[in-house]
Symmetry: C2
Subunit: 358 residues, 2 copies
Amino acid sequence: MKILTRAVVALAALAMLATPALAQKTVKWKLAMTWPSTLTPLASPPLRLAEMVKEMSGGKFIIKVEGKEKHKAPLGILDMVKGGQYQMGHSASYYWKGKDMSMVFFTTVPFGMTAFEQYAWFYYGDGMKYMQQVYDRYKVLSYPGGNTGVQMGGWFRKEIKSLDDLKGLKMRIPGLAGEVFAKLGVNVTNIPAGELYTSLDRGTIDALEWVGPGMDIKMGFHKIAPYYYTGWHEPASEMQFLINKRAYSKLPPEYQAMLQSAMKAVASEMYFENFAGSAEAWEKMKTEYPNIKVKTFPKPVLKAMKKATDEVLNSYAAKDPVFKEILESQRSFMKKARQWTIISDYNYIKTCLELEED
Amino acid sequence: MKILTRAVVALAALAMLATPALAQKTVKWKLAMTWPSTLTPLASPPLRLAEMVKEMSGGKFIIKVEGKEKHKAPLGILDMVKGGQYQMGHSASYYWKGKDMSMVFFTTVPFGMTAFEQYAWFYYGDGMKYMQQVYDRYKVLSYPGGNTGVQMGGWFRKEIKSLDDLKGLKMRIPGLAGEVFAKLGVNVTNIPAGELYTSLDRGTIDALEWVGPGMDIKMGFHKIAPYYYTGWHEPASEMQFLINKRAYSKLPPEYQAMLQSAMKAVASEMYFENFAGSAEAWEKMKTEYPNIKVKTFPKPVLKAMKKATDEVLNSYAAKDPVFKEILESQRSFMKKARQWTIISDYNYIKTCLELEED
């Protein structure tokens, strides 16, 4: 009897000691993304994040990733995360410019920073502070979620030789670039990924921009619109992870740390994946699709785009002090970051090109 | 009595259920890095990694990071990780080119890939496969550990106007670039970070390269050697995390996953940190250190460097089939990656510059 009592006490003590730490709690989350589940590399960050977090937690922290094909609301991610139907989301901030124009700064702006200038702004400038300030209104946390790098300027049925060729053109282009094109007489619309090809094929639109060769070629746009323009409008499109604040605050700190680590890891991986895919597709393009005509917009058109961009940005800044503050922060950071880009990466590639010429 | 027995059984079952998962095991590791602990951003990845892993594991997986000031063997990291005195290390592969010339490919080679071309090669080309193949000889695992981006070409007391100015020059420059300079008549040496300024000041060396403005300006080189050259020799210096294979295999899978996630996260952060620091320092340089003379090597010098680089690479390839295989892998990947860099980032910056000119 005494032995048994001791055994009970010992086992009880053991059970106490062995009580799982908070990190051992089973947590099941859902993540909604704007993209269909198969649309890599955009869908890659959330899919990889879920896998990493599962492994790190020994299968205790599970994030179920749902693509557009499941929730049917590709442009409703912010609302769904805010409402708590999903604890997390993955999308691009500029899709909510209708709610708040400042959202565009966290994806990309025409003639703005490149990916690594922008990451430097996020982490060593005021980017993270401003992004959270804007998302605070929705009780949602926001973190960088992967970057496409410089996007191509889009696919056009006809060559754009002058500003006149833009007038009356029907084009799919989101974000601030859409407003710039609108100023130049384009009829602008946004259409989710799944409907792009059909819209172009049926003539609902005459032109569209999507991402870059890695993603575009698979969509088949070149069959209908063979003029492929270089980029000016989305130099560094950053995706965002969104997290419901209440859900996050209830997570054990270990799981919060896992999310933070995994979000950073997968964001960078998306850039590498898209870069590799684009390099691959660009090389193939030349041999397999020789009908594609790669062009840069004529200088007068680019100048008009630049002027319209500044006008659009300044007009929003005049109306909205937060927009103005973020615009000034980006402009001043970009000014110094660009000097370094020019002397490092740009000058290096230029040197390599000049040596090849001889 | 029956009740007590039941209680014992129940408690025993509870103790079983509640037995800490493997991930709850306390693990204490040590990491040795080439850098002094204060030498950010090079020291940042291991310091951040240790912090992240600690948080993710609820304080159970502890990595003690030791800088050069502690272990006194800045260039002995590979040996110490191989020997097991340290479970992990952080350094740059090209420091072991004396052991194995193929190691240079995992840091950077003159006129080679930029950081994101190279990351694409690591993850979507054969980079990771080759890096592990070479490190397998030392029973060490290796992973990317942070990139400096394009490094500046170094500080020189006198302007380099022609190839003659290189003859007899005493210069600190590691990696394959050192061999290229040697071919052009330079007396090449490698000196650890802590002794660079003194060596330059005492005339042990006439010139040196270190990293870029973010790190260089703090060292004060400009006071002695005011000619600051743009880069050609280290377009994408990648650091490496090294892990003792046996130690890794004994880790619970959850801790392995935490390491994998954290290594990726902190590698990218180092790039951002160094980029931001360089942009900051570059801007300051113009106002605070107007005596610094920024130069690009004259074209005949660059052409000779390019020719010597190809000769050095080809001569090692002729002697070593593994070196040859990796060289061919990098050359073929770079060929397609560079095309995409040119049409995306390079063309974008060029467009922005042309619009500014008017």
